[in-house]
Symmetry: C2
Subunit: 424 residues, 2 copies
């Protein structure tokens, strides 16, 4: 807010201390503004400097400090217009998420963060352990780490008495609650120890994973669509000022783009038709297009940005190249999976109907060389009162990117964790 001081203002002698970063208490009268930039301004009758800020050392000097630099002062960047606006829109998207699911009878379930379950596959997981130490002298001597006779790490002496990891998804746990309480959703942090230094990946990010009981892929698509339209509409209505800011300074036209999401029907397309469309496009892609291969980001963006002019697109019924838990379609070649694609971001939501038939599920585990014993509790859901169910996952920071126009996902979360950096 523009504050107007005059020499008559009480505390006017402190004016030299009112520098960038300082905190002040102002009292006065709100009046219509004579300048064109804002509607109202504050005619200040009294000003008190609460906390000074040395103007020569305050780290954010330039009005337009680079995003890269601001990441090094992540404790101060929320004081800038951009990061203040991102924080508020992020908050509102989170609250709208809870509101949408709560209003529709979903129960929030906190899926575990640490897991010693063998289900998730240890590929890109972080280990959670108390076997290491980091004392003042530089930390664990390798020879002091508990070991077995053959010189391997002795997991039985770890906190959980076996290897434990940070979760990569709450879905399987969520399914257990959906099989008990009906519709549920998770909303919590998930982790990937993936060494990718891109503008689309974080090592720590928040996921929203609803799971619908007595539901098929069509229900799942309908839920994903209703959810996305709800939260986008919610920020357009409740974050007007911040959205205007993004529209002016970050991505021109973002408000129109988001309005389209709310108002236009999403395109539905089978994977098979999507492949036909790409093959018929005559466009040169870097990665090959062929039935049976996964779609790459460039293909997804072509479909949503070019072929359908910016409308969100749901592609469904993928070949059986995806996760073991996706339900096999009657054609025996495809699974009841769907991806929701949006312009700029690409895949925003991925979901599927889950395989509720025990024999099919066991066959899939075998096909993918996964150990059935590890999945005993997941299979129990099919042994005891199995129900058709479906769900999806949405990376929350991708949603913030989509909704704010921020280029780099590291600027959508307060303290980004990426290879080589977990500061603050």
């Amino acid at each position: 807010m523009q504050c107007v001081l005059t020499p008559e203002t009480e505390g006017y002698d402190q004016i030299d201390s009112v520098t960038t970063g300082a905190s002040v208490l102002v009292e006065g009268v709100v009046a219509s503004s004579q300048g064109g930039k804002q509607k109202v301004e504050l005619k200040v009758s009294k000003i008190t400097v609460i906390g000074k800020s040395d103007p020569t050392s305050f780290p954010i000097q330039k009005k337009r400090a680079s995003r890269e630099f601001l990441r090094t002062v992540a404790h101060l960047r929320p004081r800038t217009n951009t990061f203040g606006a991102v924080a508020r829109v992020r908050n509102t998207l989170a609250y709208a998420t809870h509101k949408f699911f709560q209003d529709n009878g979903f129960v929030w379930v906190s899926s575990p963060i640490i897991t010693a379950s063998d289900c998730e596959g240890a590929g890109e997981q972080f280990y959670v352990t108390t076997l290491l130490s980091n004392s003042a002298d530089g930390g664990s001597l390798l020879k002091d780490i508990p070991a077995t006779k053959d010189g391997r790490v002795d997991w039985s002496q770890d906190f959980f008495c076996k290897p434990a990891f940070l979760t990569v998804s709450g879905q399987l746990n969520g399914e257990t609650y959906a099989s008990a309480l009906s519709d549920i959703y998770t909303f919590g942090p998930t982790f990937r120890a993936e060494n990718s230094n891109t503008s689309r990946h974080l090592a720590e990010f928040w996921m929203i994973e609803p799971e619908l009981a007595f539901a098929d892929l069509n229900d799942d698509m309908a839920c994903a669509t209703a959810y996305l339209q709800y939260v986008v509409k919610y920020i357009l209505e409740n974050c007007k000022e911040d959205m205007d800011f993004f529209n002016t300074w970050i991505e021109k036209g973002i408000i129109d783009r988001l309005n389209d999401v709310v108002e236009k029907n999403f395109v539905h397309l089978s994977y098979t038709d999507a492949v036909e469309l790409l093959l018929g496009s005559k466009k040169e892609f870097e990665f090959p297009v062929k039935w049976g291969l996964d779609l790459q980001s460039e293909h997804e963006r072509y479909i949503t940005e070019v072929a359908f002019g910016g409308r969100p697109v749901i592609i469904r019924d993928y070949p059986k190249i995806k996760a073991f838990y996706m339900r096999e379609n009657d054609d025996g070649k495809t699974v009841a999976a769907m991806d929701l694609l949006v312009p700029r971001v690409g895949e925003l939501i991925g979901g599927s109907q889950r395989e509720e038939r025990l024999d099919y599920l066991e066959a899939r585990l075998d096909e993918q060389n996964l150990n059935k014993e590890s999945y005993w509790w997941y299979l129990d859901l099919r042994r005891y009162g199995s129900v058709p169910h479906a769900g999806f996952g949405l990376g929350f920071e991708r949603l913030v990117q989509f909704a704010t126009g921020m280029d780099n996902i590291r600027d959508t979360i307060p303290f980004p964790r990426v290879p080589g950096s977990a500061e603050f």
Copy 2:
């Protein structure tokens, strides 16, 4: 819901498959019930068994399986009345938490889960690492772990290029956002690698940590009180059936106890007066009572359960034995800290006004032999535009315990993590 079938019901021949754990689809007419146990029942016109459940192998056989046993089938226990009710009340408490803070203008901030910041002290933290592995042959050979020349773990080769931990609190990060956006709150998982096998401790639990800008300890106490009364009132109004269940089966009188929390004023007591009260009680305590010593659980429970007959009590102005960031009072002996005690659970909320004065804060870090360099960003908040601020922390599972009457904290979270166990 009681469902009444007759031989005329369509699908009546499937009745043998309607066993514990099975999932069924029933259609019919809701009618007033003739039995006394429920007001309405469903007169079923058609029943379809969706998923069978072998009655001889379904793990939850007895109606009253022990809580210990149910923890071993945490994937099925939400199907019991007790754990279904706990899950719903937990959900409603979480939503009421968001609603309270959002309605009062707080911004939800996701504080980081993984942190390489040296601020938190590595005492009871879990390490997060990619230096270990767990291949099919049994995992890392110690000799394959990256090491420095002197035989220590080489952290520079770890994912974050230095030791990284699971967070024990989001407070310090929350303060950075409160210093930018005004009132904020965190609500996310936190971790303690504490080897305590008690009914009050979890290795993984959810914390709520609001931080109020331009606020002192009185504001903090008022916020904690309003918050607790709001969420308790919210579940009494919105979870009537489940609360009746707890009142009947888990803790007789819990509804009255919670009504008292909503309706009665909380007792305010200085630490000094609390010590006087305990000394004057003539009661024999296990731990000594003396000005300058921390209050133990037995003391806290005596105060809230006996001395004030079940009313919540806020004790304030503790001696300077607590955390470095608490604001020193003018007497030089005490700090502006408060604990909110409730019957049965003891300390439910702990909070303080934060030391906003740079010189005092630095002196406290020195006193506690903490490394000021590690706290550079936290100190920056006092260097640049410092504001008086205050906040508190609440362990969400303690709140669920308090609100449901469940004895063991392991039964208040879907998949509890404790020493030796991170299953599912």
